[in-house]
């Protein structure tokens, strides 16, 4: 089943792929220019070379626990502005857990505990007096299953700005957000209709419009296309690529081809199974997407991306 979909995706996307490969190759040459910088230099937030985007979120030795269960161990990586960073890895490797640390979404799970630093513009999101509500306005989120509110299309987009006290013209903002999410033309005549009347792919683009309506810096996407068909997936990927000009995007995906197509940098997570059966996720490798997929440093990464995992 999976194979069939991916083959189909490959054929429908040839034009897109070629275009993106062109894009990737430009970034690859950028990389070549900076490849003198070793990976340690990439990890420092200060003193970036001019051709590297500044770091917007820096994870420092992040550990996540659910009660006594150690879910994620010691993750450190920088997220750069206006780039797409992909988190890949097998099920249970903690990639979604790490993503949910970035906007304090883990707060909603009572037993979850985050240790280490998540520095957003140099401010620790888990420091004292941080308001998670304000954090989530600046770091928006798109979920795995499209989850529009059971309200009208208009209200879905307007809710975030409204509760944030947006004073400008709401109609304009709604149009603008839907337009950026490449949904405006399809819904402009039925803004008052239920969001549930839309198709799955349209619902997910509505969720993206909703996420960007509050003008966040960063948009977190937790497997945003996993519930969609290949054509809807392609539209979401194109959209991410366009949104990159204004937003920093972090995407968790099961689909390695997707990571390869859309992301600038990729973090590969894996899972260690302890003697007592406890599964702890950890970051194996983090680098330029092109590098990670062609010349990975670690054998483990190579095994995974070539399908020889396990």
């Amino acid at each position: 089943m999976t194979d069939r979909i991916e083959t189909h995706l490959g054929t429908t996307e040839e034009g897109q792929m070629a275009q993106e490969q062109a894009n990737t190759s430009t970034t690859a040459s950028d990389v070549a220019a900076t490849s003198a910088e070793d990976s340690d230099a990439v990890r420092t937030s200060g003193g970036d070379p001019d051709d590297l985007n500044p770091v917007i979120i820096e994870l420092e030795n992040v550990n996540v626990y659910y009660d006594d269960f150690h879910a994620v161990s010691d993750v450190s990586l920088p997220i750069r502005e206006r780039e797409i960073t992909a988190f890949i890895g097998p099920s249970g490797c903690g990639k979604s857990t790490v993503l949910r640390c970035l906007n304090r979404m883990n707060d909603l799970i009572e037993s979850a505990r985050v240790e280490g630093g998540v520095n957003y513009h140099g401010v620790d999101l888990y420091g004292p007096n941080i308001d998670p509500v304000e954090v989530r306005r600046r770091i928006g989120m798109v979920f795995q299953k499209p989850n529009p509110f059971p309200k009208s299309i208009y209200d879905n987009v307007a809710f975030g700005p409204k509760i944030a006290g947006y004073k400008g013209n709401m109609d304009d903002l709604v149009e603008q957000s839907l337009d950026r999410a490449a949904l405006w033309d399809e819904v402009k005549d039925k803004l008052d209709e239920s969001a549930y009347a839309l198709s799955g792919g349209q619902q997910q683009r509505l969720c993206i419009a909703r996420a960007i309506a509050t003008s966040p810096d960063v948009v977190l996407m937790d497997e945003p296309a996993s519930a969609l068909d290949p054509i809807a997936t392609l539209r979401i990927e194109e959209l991410m690529y366009e949104l990159k000009a204004e937003y920093t995007i972090i995407i968790v995906t099961h689909n390695m081809q997707q990571a390869g197509r859309v992301s600038d940098r990729t973090a590969f997570f894996s899972v260690d199974i302890q003697d007592d059966g406890e599964r702890t996720g950890r970051l194996v490798e983090f680098s330029e997407t092109a590098t990670l997929f062609t010349t990975p440093e670690k054998q483990e990464t190579e095994d995974y991306i070539t399908g020889r995992f396990g």
Binding site: N147, F159, G160, Y196, T214
Partner: protein
């Protein structure tokens, strides 16, 4: 395909396949089982139908001879003029008190339990206790009302001529009786709201209060409404607690031009109590035709309430 052909060197002929997949004769066991279930259903339905038919037949002369005056007349010792109006008024006031007290308290408690309470042993204990309270016999709530709410009503100045044994105390007692059910049904409706909706709300920077108010409650509302209106029907039908806290099973003159305060604090009665009391009257007409007629009135009120619950649920469901 290739593996199966290596496992079965010889391909089965169509006769052989037909032999295994065609059935020889009917299989009686499932049919018998289905018939048994149908009989069980018919028995339960039959009991209901006989009950209803018996009551309707007995009640018919009253409605035929008296028409609407049976509804609009007050209580009386004379079977020719006795009606259920006083009882309807009493039941409606009790229902209003229940709605005013039990609904906000119960729904609020349910929201706290589901959305705010930490998931610890205290919460679980409270949850279990509420469930157990819903199963406590109603007569026990009657005793609680007599010991607690009747004096309370006196203290807050609603004692009146009945020293607290009035419709206010009855309403508070009924509210206490249905409160656990309101909490349980509301909590279940709130729990049924998909977590994805909450996450979506938090994801765009909503506070807990905004998520509950704007997203959880609108989605849970149909279920909450259905549950609460059904508890109202329960409050309408309960008899035992009212008997304990001194409902007037005898007869008193209809309120007439008494003030609202006097009506509220004076002697009262309710529909199920009237049915109970009429069945024990010495004059045969009371038990034979008037009590069934009162039952019909009570059933009609309950049907209306249940219909209202269904209508409200459909109406708020249809929105999206």
């Amino acid at each position: 395909m290739s593996t199966s052909s290596t496992l079965n060197p010889r391909r089965a002929t169509s006769e052989e396949v037909a032999k295994t997949i065609k059935r020889g004769g009917a299989n009686w066991k499932p049919i018998a089982f289905q018939a048994l279930l149908l009989i069980l259903l018919s028995v339960s339905l039959l009991i209901l139908i006989v009950l209803l038919a018996d009551i309707l037949v007995s009640a018919w002369p009253t409605f035929r001879d008296r028409g609407l005056s049976f509804i609009t007349d007050g209580l009386s010792l004379n079977p020719e003029t006795a009606g259920v109006w006083t009882a309807i008024v009493g039941s409606v006031i009790i229902a209003v008190v229940v709605a005013v007290l039990a609904f906000p308290v119960g729904i609020g408690a349910a929201i706290y339990l589901e959305e705010y309470a930490p998931n610890n042993s205290i919460t679980r204990f409270v949850d279990t206790t509420v469930r157990n309270l819903a199963g406590v016999p109603s007569i026990v709530y009657g005793l609680l009302g007599l010991a607690l709410f009747v004096p309370l009503v006196n203290i807050i100045g609603f004692g009146g001529a009945t020293s607290g044994k009035n419709v206010v105390a009855a309403g508070i007692t009924m509210a206490a009786l249905v409160l656990p059910i309101v909490i349980i049904t509301s909590a279940e409706a709130i729990r049924a709201v998909p977590n994805a909706i909450r996450e979506a709300g938090y994801g765009v920077g909503a506070t807990k209060w905004e998520v509950v108010k704007n997203h959880v409650m609108p989605v849970a509302l149909p279920g909450v409404l259905t549950g609460t209106v059904l508890t109202l029907a329960r409050a309408f039908g309960e008899t035992a607690p009212l008997l304990v806290i001194g409902v007037a099973t005898g007869f008193f003159a209809p309120a007439g031009d008494a003030s609202f305060y006097d009506t509220l604090t004076g002697p009262y009665t309710a529909l199920p109590v009237v049915v109970f009391s009429w069945t024990r009257q010495t004059q045969a007409e009371f038990a034979e035709t008037l009590a069934p007629a009162a039952i019909v009135v009570l059933l009609v009120v309950l049907f209306i309430l249940n219909g209202l619950a269904i209508w409200m649920r459909n109406r708020s469901d249809r929105k999206w």
